[in-house]
Subunit: 240 residues, 2 copies
DNA sequence: GCTGGTCTATTTATATGATTAAACGGAATC
DNA sequence: GATTCCGTTTAATCATATAAATAGACCAGC
């Protein structure tokens, strides 16, 4: 308990010892802390972090459920290859994006967005009910307000994109809500000149209009333009 | 040769008591067993399944990590709303698809495939290396063999689609490999007349050719045609 | 020397108990 | 009526013991 290794308590994530350890180990794993050194045994983890074996085991089990670890008797606990990590777990994605900040990973995530969000916009144009449309319009209104300096640009942008994913009516597309929010929020440090620009406002408005007009093709195209714009800006950052 | 990802005992289900309980509870949750009745307490779970509290707690922690449960002192453990389930966890998806067999869910998953796989095919046409191309060709060769009755049609179909996702070079697209495999394998009972048909062979060949020719647009279009075909067949099943 | 089995040490897996902390209902209080 | 306080319930945590699994050392037999 006099171990100063886990003094980061009190943070929002440190809801309890298990979640604190989960977060700590998750970060360590994605930053490659155990690429050269073997993953500690239960006893070592417990001692290093000053917690009981129960806490250690439950944190390890959660990391196992997220695909980061595997544990076998006598062999010990070891980090799984990246291919088996569940990148669509919000915790895992956050750890990955927060680690060093990988522009490559952000670019790859936006390749995914380029596939997902236009399709979601098209579905939304077909299937959105009144409530979903209202949320999209509310999101856009916030972006307009942000443009006038009356709201937060990032929050407004996120709200708009999440509203469209929700309006798709497809639970698999809705699943990306948390991931997109995480990615946008985590990457703000790097791309804060990108989101919330005036240029975006027109493009977002075009998406909103197309969905309200029940025009899937136009909605898809307009959303593709937004993501394409973001991707080219990331490519610029990458080059220069 | 036979890369048995699943150990003899049904893929880690009966690997130990914790995984057994995890699977059992996961199925119960997605089938709605606790929609009316409250989720049991630790002590009740332990007693009902004849296992120790350690096993119970660790299984609950894994289900928590997958977004199915939440636990708080005094309030007990309770099932989370479906919106917070991690549908991109292979276990969760399998439980969902196996439960009753939901055609709606299968249709929605194929809406996702319609967004993902054409984009992956386009990326593959741009980025695939020699090894990735070889895997795609091997997958197609297996489909041809299956058409002659010399291989399993489902396995061949899965191998082909997974090879393209891998060839995209994007870890987020690769993430869908396990999910697509799970969905195809689980839905075979329902759609076994769909996969492995002769008509598919030409469409799959077109995708392969386009990727080998480094033609992203054509690869995307050809893949979209395949998924579109599957979707219309599901729609038929649904109607009739 | 090689082959095959056994034995042992190590580590996770499981069981069990006791204690602590958090959340909530409701009684007591103002 | 709102607030404070207390008791109950339950998960959270700690601690310890035993079981199971297995990698690697060891050993017998040929």
């Amino acid at each position: 308990m006099d171990s100063d290794a886990d003094d980061g308590r009190g943070g929002g994530l440190g809801r309890n010892l298990t979640y604190g350890l989960l977060d700590h180990l998750g970060r360590q794993i994605v930053t490659g802390a155990f690429e050269t050194t073997p993953f500690p045994t239960e006893a070592e983890l417990s001692e290093q972090h000053g917690v009981s074996r129960s806490v250690t085991r439950e944190a390890v089990k959660m990391l196992t459920a997220k695909g980061l670890l595997t544990a076998r008797p006598r062999q010990g606990t070891s980090v799984q290859p990246v291919a088996s990590w569940n990148l669509f777990d919000a915790d895992v994605l956050r750890w990955l994006l927060e680690r060093k900040f990988s522009v490559d990973l952000l670019a790859q995530f936006n390749q995914l967005r380029a596939a997902i969000e236009p399709a979601a916009a098209a579905l939304a144009a077909e299937a959105a009910d009144a409530r979903a449309l209202a949320l999209i319009e509310a999101g856009f209104a916030r972006m307009e307000a942000a443009d006038r300096g009356e709201d937060d640009g990032l929050d407004a942008d996120i709200a708009f994109h999440l509203a469209i994913l929700r309006a798709s009516g497809n639970p698999f597309f809705m699943q990306f809500r948390e991931l997109v929010a995480t990615a946008l929020r985590t990457s703000i440090r790097f791309t804060n000149r990108i989101v919330g620009r005036t240029a975006d406002l027109a493009a977002h408005g075009a998406v909103k209009e197309a969905i309200c007009a029940r025009d899937p093709a136009r909605a898809q195209q307009a959303m593709a333009a937004i993501i394409g714009d973001v991707m080219s800006l990331i490519a610029e950052q990458r080059a220069g």
